[in-house]
């Protein structure tokens, strides 16, 4: 899994910082662009008792239309119908949501990976 150096140096960070009721972007981020392995520091304040949501994402987005690999175009076209997205939907390939309330985005469920189907 190789990533070229130029891809790493264009990795930039944008973030969204939300507090309910206010659109307060009072957070500061430590640098404007990062390379792989750098430490990102975000400083800011939110009102006590509020939930913290920080979205860190790559600025360069990817849509299924952006690739012209033979296998990828066929596969993404097929999966787009099943998973309900269109071929020009863009997402950032690197995206992390840092929060103290992960339940707002989904649930944790137990899932079995391998192992015996019946424990005797």
């Amino acid at each position: 899994m190789k990533k070229s150096i130029c891809l790493l140096t264009t990795l930039l960070v944008l973030f969204a910082f939300a507090a309910p009721g206010l659109a307060a972007d009072t957070a500061k981020i430590s640098a404007a662009s990062y390379k792989a392995g750098d430490t990102v520091t975000i400083e800011g304040t939110i009102a006590p008792g509020q939930d913290l949501y920080i979205a860190i994402a790559q600025q360069k987005m990817f849509a299924p239309n952006d690739t012209d690999g033979v296998h990828e175009t066929k596969r993404l076209k097929k999966d787009a119908k099943k998973a309900n997205f269109t071929l020009d939907t863009k997402i950032p390939p690197l995206y992390y949501m840092l929060t103290n309330n992960p339940d707002a985005f989904g649930k944790v469920k137990d899932k079995k990976f391998g192992g015996p189907s019946v424990l005797l």
């Binding site: 949501y53 987005m61 999966d79 929060t99 992960p102 985005f105």
Partner: protein, 71 residues
């Protein structure tokens, strides 16, 4: 395993506003696909969390490991 919410409209309003670049239901669906299936993880996101040797999903929502015990 942390499963992302299936329906974009079921997300809490403040959480939805905080998502940043992901703003439509289509984008959320593509985001789920890229983070929770083998093909999405191996070709788009390329970062998998593993249970043993099995890639189970790509990290997306990260909380304090000490309190939740999750990613």
């Amino acid at each position: 395993m942390h499963y992302l919410e299936k329906d974009f409209n079921n997300l809490d309003a403040t959480a939805k506003a905080a998502l940043g670049p992901i703003q439509t239901a289509d984008q959320w669906n593509f985001f789920r696909y890229a983070h929770q299936g083998n093909y999405g993880i191996n070709t788009i996101v390329k970062e998998g969390s593993r249970v043993g040797k099995v890639v189970i999903f790509a990290r997306s929502v990260i909380a304090d490991h000490a309190t939740t015990g999750n990613y």
